[in-house]
Amino acid sequence: MREQQLQHILRYMPAGIGTLLGPELRFGFLNEAMQNLLGGTTPAGEPLTAYPGPLTTDLLEVMKQVYEAGRPFVAKAYPLLLPISEEEEKIRHYFDLTLEPLQDDDDQPLGLLVFAVDVTAQEEARQRAHELSLETRRLDARLRVLTETAPQITFSLNADGRFEYVSPQWYYFTGQPPTADLNAIWPLLIHPDDRLRVLYQSDTARTMGVGWNYEYRLRRHDGQYRWMLSRALPELHAPDKPVSWHGAVTEVHDQRELSEALRRGEAELRFLADSIPQLIWTASRVGFIEYYNKHTAEYTGLSEQELGPTGWIALLETAEQAPAARRWVQCVATGEDFEGLYQMRRHDGQFRWHIIRARQLTDSNGPRWFGACTDVDDQHRLREVLQTQYDELARTNRDLDTFVYTASHDLKQPLFNLRGLFDELRRTATFHDAEQDILLQMVDEALGQLDGTLQELAATVQDQRELAAPTEELDLRSVAEEVLLGLRAQVQETQAVVELDMAASPTLLYGRANLRSVLHNLLSNAIKFAHPERAPHIVARSQVSDTGQPLLIVQDNGLGMSISSESDPMFHTFERQHPHVVGAGVGLYLVQRIINSRGGHLAVTSTLGEGTTFTVHWFE
């Protein structure tokens, strides 16, 4: 019964058990697992070698030797290809095979007890672990190469903040020997001004279980302190607290110096802008003021906050605000310069003139507006004063002209009356004086002179007003004839002969009144300055100069004169040399003024006692 139970247990055991008997190792008891292992064909009493199943020859050999030597042997993780049948796919299985010699009481060999445990799962796991460890070693090597060649120091800290690893770059950078005590030395290499901050920040980050990111100066092997960026992240093993931190330290000295220089540059510019007694500001690309200099606050009495992004517009004279705002919007849209003259309110309420200029410039931060308001109030006021004075002078001048004109006009009537009275007196009264005739003649002459002067004065003022008259294409001959018609009395009185020769250049683009005035004065002068011994012969001729410009030549055979100096104004010469000829100077003065005002000039040649030639260069 017990025997039967034992057999039952052995049969269904998950390990293979079997006996092989005699030197031929014939099949004895084989449980099911062992039968399967041996390929299922195990006829009792037959030798194993006849049905070896998956067993290899060297295993059969070992079995024989165990039988003969009587010493047990264990083959660990022995591979067998199962099952052996042709149809199914063979899979490698691993077994721990225990070979135990069976002996009789006299220690004579009986057979072998074979015990097989399937260890395939364990073996596969072991092999996987082995492959994994190989892969890990490979990755590890790669990581090491990377961490040790990258231009940064990498490190790992444990939960207590002690260094567990630091890449060799740390030693290269700091020049410390490989034996250096990292935890003791690293803090000492941090710049004294940064040390406390760094220790505090990393300590805080560690207690809070977060990473960090800060910059500090670290002493290099040559003793120089260089700016470094330290970043680290915690390695979390949730839900526990971080177990370690991994990070890198990168040198950022040059970048930092550069941005420091930029900051300094900006600060220097601001300092300059703040020191200038001008209103300076910068505005964003879209037109909002971001910075006003100090002087702006001083001038306006308003803070940057109070001014706001468009506050400058409120400082302008009310009527100027809307057009200035429109222009600014337009400039921002197009990028055109902004420029204008505006009155800006000072803190005390006084408005002062400013030139406001702004220009869009583009730097690395994109386009920005730079503006300046220059106080030009003093210049502007000076200009205003000058303008007022000028206007006043011009008005006075006009008033004088009017006065002279009206005076000459107003005096004409009394003069006319005076002459009438005088003629009446001469006709009716008798004078008891021997020199009465001379006296009468002198009064007559004086009256005549007065009349002439008045006429000339009136004409001068009249013509002066017409200086700016519009020009038209004029026929020289017909204008000259008109003028001669006006001089008919004088021509007849002196029996003057006047020749007009305008064929060379018959027309002239000029103001009609001006041309008449010039012709009138030149022709009437020629008659006035006639030689007492001969009738005047006057030639007026048009010509074209070498440079193609029109000329007018008026030549007479009159008194002539000596022309001493070029600089002496011509009419003075005439006046002085011929004091008996009334009003001649005024007329010539007028001619010269007209011609000069049109961009021309008057030239004269003369021979005393023979005659004078005037040449009008209408245009230069």
């Binding site: 879209v286 037109g287 909002f288 706001g308 992004p309 468009t310 506050g311 517009i313 409120a314 605000q321 809307a322 705002a325 600014w328 919007v329 337009q330 921002v332 849209a333 197009t334």
Partner: protein
């Protein structure tokens, strides 16, 4: 009475539907709190003016600036004003689909936008004109 003006960038382009919903929600909530103003939107650029009691619009601005639909919120002004310049709350943007927007209350096509109210000081009107130009482009600049 204060007004606040800010500019910002949409985190991702807002669709017509997004804008319509925003318009509806804002018109409802703002009417409730007596908040008026205008919002400009185009191609992810946003500018907004809100007017109302400071104790209402300051927290509202805080809320809006934390809204995840936009970022880079830059406040240009927050200052007292004499009176409201916007009768209600409206929005101006270039819709992708024109149809259906014409009938929406409180919505303007940029080229139909009334001129900046003359009730504002010229300095304040200039702010509105500049943000509007920054978002919608210069007037006459055609919309692609």
């Amino acid at each position: 009475m204060n007004h606040i003006v800010y500019m910002s960038r949409a985190v991702r382009p807002l669709s017509d539907q997004d804008l319509k919903e925003l318009l509806d929600q804002c018109r409802r909530d703002n009417a409730l709190h007596d908040v008026t103003g205008i919002l400009f939107y185009s191609h992810g650029n946003i500018a907004q003016l809100i007017e109302g009691a400071p104790e209402i619009i300051e927290p509202l601005f805080e809320k809006i600036s934390r809204d995840g639909r936009h970022s880079h919120v830059v406040r240009l002004v927050n200052k007292p004003i004499a009176a409201r310049s916007f009768p209600d709350w409206s929005m101006a943007f270039h819709p992708l689909e024109h149809e259906g927007f014409q009938a929406l209350e409180g919505f303007f096509l940029p080229d139909q936008l009334p001129p900046t109210p003359t009730s504002m000081t010229i300095a304040d009107a200039l702010i509105v004109d500049l943000v509007r130009q920054a978002v919608l482009g210069a007037p006459g600049q055609s919309e692609l």
